[in-house]
Symmetry: C2
Subunit: 361 residues, 2 copies
């Protein structure tokens, strides 16, 4: 029986639709008996279906941040011009996930291993089945969303006219693998996790808190903490303020509180997937060959102070991608700049996406 977790609801994340793909075979050989993808759309699809934009989601995220921070009239992702589809990744808590699986064969600790390629294949089917979309004006995503953007551009080059991987790589690095391992271990080392068969995410509060603490170190930056930039962030709980708070209060009431609401197995499922993101799986391990397949007009958009998808790693992939350009995005928040709390970052993302969308392909 699925666990009840109010964090994964329309009330908490904003409204969404579910599309069932039925039986779905995974790259690792296991099967999801009825794969359901949670998605939202914004705008109207042109008659020629030429104005579609796809946004896959990042680790621990949903469609919500994209809707609240990045999509709007006059923005690059303008629903008055484009038909924008945001698809929640498999295992994120809204699409089919360990805690919400009806089928006991894949519930909780029995949830199969899912890869980036599974998400991309599922999204491709969703776009065709629901909307008849065969080509995308743009695929854009951040972090694990960027991993999916890269996979789209390599796996379906004829379908992707433009690609914007933000703060993520095509081939996960060893450093990133080790970082994600520390995130996963923070959860699995909590006795309350119980091998994945806990009765409530609240049983794993300690592990989720340690998970959040590692994010605070690697996902943000020393300047974010030193300058108390966090005081500019909206408190998680409406009505609260940061008056009188110190940095440890912020950590407790923001990142720890946020991650404790999440499902541990969802984070582990996404973590496993993130660790193994690699477009070179399409080309027998040859990264240059994989990126050489890309025909999309591509802007590679790392965040300047990102500590685990740093610009240097993104630049190396940009240089292997035909015609790709490097556009570095500024954020004092490092990787977590993706939250979109800084106007400077939003402006930079918008300017680059507008230029990319205006580019001939």
């Amino acid at each position: 029986m699925p666990l009840d977790n109010p964090f994964y609801s329309a009330a908490a994340q904003g409204p969404y639709e579910l599309h069932s793909l039925g039986r779905f075979e995974l790259e690792e050989g296991e099967v999801i008996p009825d794969l359901r993808l949670a998605y939202t759309t914004h705008g109207v699809l042109d008659a020629d279906r030429g104005n579609a934009i796809l946004i896959p989601t990042w680790f621990s995220g949903s469609h919500q941040t994209w809707e609240q921070m990045y999509i709007g009239p006059g923005r690059a992702l303008d629903p008055e011009k484009y038909f924008i589809v945001i698809v929640n990744q498999i295992g994120n808590g809204l699409s089919t996930s360990p805690h919400n699986a009806d089928d006991p064969s894949i519930a909780m600790s029995r949830f199969p291993r899912v890869r980036i390629g599974d998400d991309v294949r599922a999204q491709e089917r969703l776009l065709r089945e629901l909307f008849g979309i065969e080509r995308l004006a743009l695929v854009v995503g951040g972090s694990m969303g960027a991993q999916q953007v890269w996979e789209w551009a390599v796996r379906f080059p004829e379908k992707v006219l433009r690609a914007a991987p933000i703060a993520g790589t095509a081939q996960n690095t060893p450093h990133d693998f080790l970082f994600t391992a520390t995130l996963n271990d923070a959860i699995t080392s909590d006795p309350g996790w119980a091998g994945g068969d806990y009765a409530s995410n609240l049983d794993v509060a300690a592990g989720l808190g340690r998970h959040a603490d590692i994010w605070a170190v690697v996902g943000l930056t020393t300047d974010f903490w030193k300058t108390e930039f966090w005081r500019t962030l909206p408190p998680l709980v409406e009505g609260e303020t940061w008056d009188g708070a110190g940095f440890q209060d912020f950590q407790e009431r923001f990142l720890r509180a946020l991650f404790r609401m999440m499902d541990p197995n969802a984070l582990l499922s996404m973590g496993w997937k993130w660790q193994r993101g690699d477009v070179a799986r399409n080309t027998g391990g040859d990264l240059a060959a994989a990126l050489g397949r890309v025909t999309a007009r591509t802007f590679v958009m790392p965040i300047d102070r990102d500590q685990f998808f740093p610009p240097a790693d993104c630049r190396a992939e940009q240089e292997l991608t035909p015609g790709a350009e490097l556009r570095v995005i500024p954020s004092i928040m490092g990787h977590m700049g993706l939250f979109g709390f800084e106007q400077e970052l939003l402006d930079a993302v918008d300017a680059n996406l507008k230029e990319l969308l205006a580019a001939e392909v």
Copy 2:
């Protein structure tokens, strides 16, 4: 009864002496009934006692790395010219520490909280009592050793002619506090830690392994892992090689194996101290006033790719210190460049220390 841990022995760390300071009152108000400092010396003290150099140690380290990597004839730290004293910090496993305390009132979980200022006061007494040293030609240290260098320069400005804090700050940052908290929590979340009263460090192997894994992410760099720079490091166990090893094998057989040999309470004692390093405690919280006291000729030497004592944080302190110069040291290993496995780093440290030692004061 002290725990037996062969890692903290002359056989493992190289020979050392012990000096007892007797009853020692700590800044936090507690007492170490008989504080013993483990130290080594190299070279001969001049008749005028003008050639003394002090080296305090870093987190988890001892005198050994300094002796093996940084001290030698022809080097900046030349025992043919200088009288070099390396003092192991309190709680490091060789000086009085939780696991080796004879007195049950301070053994294991009852070990009192020690601050950087306690180490510096203890070192000052050791130098006077044993050698009659009243002035130091140089105080140099890395990481937590740099915290002690800064404390020396602020607390005893008349005694420090030259100061070289390498890869460490005078005032710990919130980011660094949070990082160290993740290191501590990796240990204390292991049920085997048992509130600090384990029977053997081996009972805490899982927690020590997670501790090592966080070091692998924040203490090193993405390029260290991506370029497999680790293949150039000597295996921990003599006779082993990295042939056929992958990066996860390296992590298991190097950092995890190394930290698992250590004492959990020693790491926690040092971690607590590190989190609270702050020279502004000498000036009512005013960092500028504290650094304004420094009269030593000071080279501030961050490591270029250090992720938790980054150059920007060190530069901010250098700019507050009268006459101080910023000398950035290169290392693909980031903070762990301090291990001294790169000739380029050793050359850069030597060149800067030679220039500093040659400078008039």
